[in-house]
């Protein structure tokens, strides 16, 4: 007969710890992040393009036409004033293919097209209208506009990168580009092209522009941008005021006009970056009302989820049962418990001597 095994069993609760709470916390967090991300998607042309790809061929075709139109507009913005009309005409021709009221809006937009500020307003107007006009196709157009507008602003790889950096910096810093970010970008630029930056500085300062403001504005400092534009406006206003009273040949007037033009030209070199920063800040501002709280609560949730995710792993990796010190007590109890099995056989007698009354076994 096989007897009952004597077993020392190791009980663990290593598999009993619950990760459900941490898991659901993380899933909530992921949803919150996605919501925030959706609000910010409009700042990312690649995302908009992907969304667009998901729609039908018609939508894509329509949106490509709008996109072409915007490309032409971007060209126009880069060309001199004399060539602007020709480019705008090309843009108008492309836009003819887009039917309905959106066309009128577009035409209106081109009619009032003067500078990138107008373009931004018009793009927003068309973006807003297109969605309500065409249903899914309209949405596609809106998407295309968002893409095209972003492409327009980010007209080079560097500017695209700067837009992406600005966007993430805005998100990180909750809507405000931090001084350290700007310092970092300036340091990067200086490190990448040390001789170029010296030359640029000479040119910029020769044009009467504050080098410090120029660099800070280029990398997204809203205050520096405002100072540059204010100075530019002041010079333009001075030129306008002088134009009323002075003769065109007056050397002082010529000098003032020259200074103003040089200043405007110097700022013009970084207009795409200024516009990108401004558009990113504005777009962030538009979504930040609804998302800034979300971003803040997201941070809290991140920390909470990190803590929640860390706790079960750290805390529950332990063997269930008494701490080592208590094992002695358990051993005593175990001895006592086993004693109750052994002792009754020789009740009241020493377990070490066979003094039990075994007479009943002796027959």
């Amino acid at each position: 007969m096989r007897g009952r095994d004597f077993t020392v069993e190791l009980i663990t609760d290593l598999t009993a710890f619950a990760t459900d709470k941490a898991v659901s916390g993380l899933e909530d967090l992921a949803s919150a992040a996605d919501n925030s991300g959706r609000s910010l998607d409009k700042l990312d042309p690649r995302k908009a393009a992907r969304t667009l790809d998901g729609l039908g061929e018609d939508a894509k075709a329509a949106s490509r036409k709008v996109s072409d139109a915007y490309d032409s507009m971007a060209d126009a913005a880069r060309q001199s004033a004399s060539r602007m009309d020709a480019s705008a005409d090309r843009a108008k021709r492309s836009m003819r293919d887009v039917k309905g009221e959106a066309q009128d809006t577009a035409r209106e937009m081109f009619a009032s097209f003067r500078d990138t500020g107008d373009l931004a307003d018009a793009a927003q107007e068309l973006t807003a209208n297109a969605g309500s006009l065409f249903g899914p196709v309209g949405l596609a157009i809106s998407g295309a506009l968002a893409v095209a507008f972003s492409q327009f602003l980010a007209d080079s790889e560097a500017a695209k990168q700067s837009m992406a950096d600005l966007t993430s910096e805005l998100v990180e810093s909750n809507g405000r580009i931090s001084a350290s970010f700007i310092d970092r970008k300036i340091a990067e630029e200086a490190a990448n092209d040390p001789t170029g930056i010296v030359q640029l500085r000479a040119e910029v300062e020769a044009a009467g522009v504050s080098w410090r403001d120029y660099m800070r504005a280029k990398h997204g400092d809203a205050e520096a941008t405002a100072r540059l534009y204010a100075e530019s406006d002041r010079l333009s206003a001075a030129v306008d005021a002088a134009a009323g009273s002075a003769r065109a040949s007056d050397p002082a007037f010529m000098a003032l006009k020259n200074t103003s033009e040089q200043y405007t030209a110097a700022i013009g070199q970084i207009t795409p970056q200024l516009d990108a920063a401004r558009a990113a800040t504005a777009a962030y501002g538009a979504v930040s009302a609804s998302s800034s709280n979300q971003v803040l609560s997201l941070r809290t949730e991140i920390n909470e989820a990190r803590a929640a995710a860390a706790n079960p792993i750290v805390a529950k990796v332990s063997v269930q049962g008494p701490p080592p010190g208590a094992l002695a007590a358990i051993r005593q109890n175990m001895t006592a418990a086993l004693g109750t099995i052994v002792v009754p056989v020789a009740a009241g007698t020493s377990p070490y001597k066979n003094t039990a009354d075994n007479s009943r076994y002796r027959g």
Binding site: F6, V8, L10, E27, L29, S31, A33, I313, V319
Partner: protein, 135 residues
């Protein structure tokens, strides 16, 4: 980090966390016998003293379900007693003179090994968690 990427990493981590208890259970099932029970069985086997020490040592084996050490119930001595029967008198003495009390082996061995057991279990679980969150 970009919000969607952050969301993705949250979901990945959630998925990994979801699998952790199972992974740890599997790891313990497959590895704990060798990593924890066998060293404990060896320790207990070495700790036996007295006339039945060889029989008891030979019958002391690691088991996986439930995890632990068993002192077998097969017949071990000429009289037909099994090691699991011998273990009680060997540890605590018995009614018959021949079962004179040997030095207690199991309790002290388990007590001495407690820290090692906790550490080994912790390491198994940590490895399993690390593995499951690496996938």
């Amino acid at each position: 980090m970009e919000p969607h990427a952050f969301a993705r990493s949250c979901r990945t981590l959630a998925r990994q966390l979801q699998g952790v208890p199972d992974t740890v259970a599997r790891a313990i099932e497959t590895k704990a016998t060798d990593a924890v029970a066998r060293p404990l069985a060896d320790k207990i086997a070495r700790a036996f003293t007295g006339p039945y020490a060889p029989v008891l040592s030979a019958s002391t084996l690691p088991v996986s379900q439930p995890l632990g050490v068993t002192i077998g119930g097969s017949r071990s001595v000429s009289g037909g007693a099994t090691a699991s029967l011998l273990v009680w008198p060997n540890e605590y003495g018995g009614r018959a003179r021949q079962f004179r009390r040997a030095r207690p082996a199991i309790g002290p061995a388990v007590e001495q090994a407690a820290d090692t057991i906790v550490t080994a279990m912790g390491e198994l679980a940590a490895e399993a968690i690390e593995e499951s969150t690496r996938r």
